[in-house]
Symmetry: C2
DNA sequence: GAGTGGTCTAGACCACTTG
DNA sequence: AAGTGGTCTAGACCACTCT
């Protein structure tokens, strides 16, 4: 756990400006001495910062700070956590929450047979009182049945599930643009055809089992998603439809 | 370089189906013996596969294959390389290529002063003869002047720049949705207002210097971008406008 | 030439999963 | 209880950058 503490400490240093953008970072040996850790542990911490796009390195030269804004994994999946981290007030309006047979795409994403029961939750998400996103989330039966209608009406289903022992470990997001359907338009209070940013997300737990599958549609002018991407770490990909 | 060879070899094993999706992976000790490497080197190879979203791991249990489609970094920045990897034929129609003073956003992204000369290249990109994207790329003066009009007319400017010694190391992409402007609509042959997937990309070389800044707008129903994302590796983030 | 990051090894102990 | 991944150490050699 030492390398995590060190990484967090260094990240804090970047965030507070102790290590400014473009500035040269302390060397591995220097930090090893400062933290009383081996060089390997320092490098492990650096690997985290590199994956997150904070540091860049070249053989022979000191590391350089290349980015300072970082987002937590929870904030990425949870609309509520994300909104609060930006200083906005999130809210949710429950449109529907029902148990019904899985459609083909839901079944495939959740690894159940077509027609097996799944839970479908439809909500409109608000930012400071303004409707900005329509969320349609499917849960496997075992997970959806942990949730009540009141849970779905509360803001963060993510937090509730985590408090009930569900662990989120990994997510695949597919981002595309689409025109608002009649239903989307009605829920968001805009005209049909309005550009929406669509993200289809499949989230799994540490064993690789699916825990949710969600189709979220944001007003195009409200949010953007950003990705950092390098020769060595390369999580983004592009697909034709 | 050993760990890269091992990672590539294992990735090939996943791609060919030797290690199927969801299947348990060989243990670290087993692979260390097989490749004649230390456990640390095997773990280094595993780290690459994890970053790319191929493997998931839990303490105490064997690793599991969780994803098998992987994309090369070049294919992500280069429309041409990407198109060819999917079996489509890419093309480019040059709309404009000029040297002119940088606007505020271009200057900020390329780390030059506002008004300093930059090169701006505007192209329509085609997939199997169909216009699918408008690309507006700004280059710093030193890089843009390596390119001729003929280069800009040729498909892959990325490849040309790499052959002239420019190294691409890292990119930040911001993805959002927007309505086609009048100019976009004319270039793409669609109606204004049509939903477009917009990606604004800033690419840097290994020292962190900006090499290009591009605003690409795809027809919304043609491509999607996908991102893999986990508790430990977390390159995606979300922003309000 | 000194400093720095990149790679690799060998061994240790721990926490967790699995049979 | 055995196997497996997670963490950490100490030391080595190399390739590259810097001044």
């Amino acid at each position: 756990m030492l390398y995590r503490r060190i990484a967090a400490d260094l990240k804090r240093g970047v965030a507070t400006g102790e290590f400014g953008e473009r500035s040269r970072f302390p060397s591995e040996n220097e930090l090893a001495a400062r933290y009383g850790a081996s060089r390997g542990t320092i490098r492990r911490a650096f690997a985290m910062l590199r994956e997150e796009g904070v540091l860049a390195s070249r053989q022979g030269a000191r590391r350089v700070v290349v980015g300072s804004q970082v987002q937590d994994f929870t904030e990425l999946r949870s609309f509520s956590a994300w909104a609060r981290s930006t200083g906005s007030t999130p809210d949710a309006r429950l449109v529907g929450f029902e148990r019904r047979p899985a459609l083909a795409d839901e079944a495939a994403a959740l690894d159940v047979a077509k027609g097996d029961p799944v839970w479908l939750m439809t909500r409109v998400r608000l930012l400071d009182g303004r409707a900005v996103m329509v969320e349609r989330t499917a849960f496997p039966d075992g997970i959806g049945s942990l949730l009540t209608d009141d849970d779905a009406r509360a803001g963060s289903v993510t937090t509730i599930l985590e408090s009930r022992g569900i662990t989120f470990d990994r997510a695949e997001h597919a981002l595309s643009a689409m025109a608002a359907t009649a239903a989307d338009a009605r829920l968001l209070g805009v005209r049909p055809g309005r550009p929406l940013l669509r993200t289809v997300r499949r989230t799994t737990d540490p064993s690789g089992a699916a825990v949710e599958y969600s189709d979220d549609r944001y007003l195009g002018d409200v949010v953007s998603f950003s990705v950092v991407n390098s020769v060595s770490a390369n999580p983004l990909s592009r697909r034709t439809h």
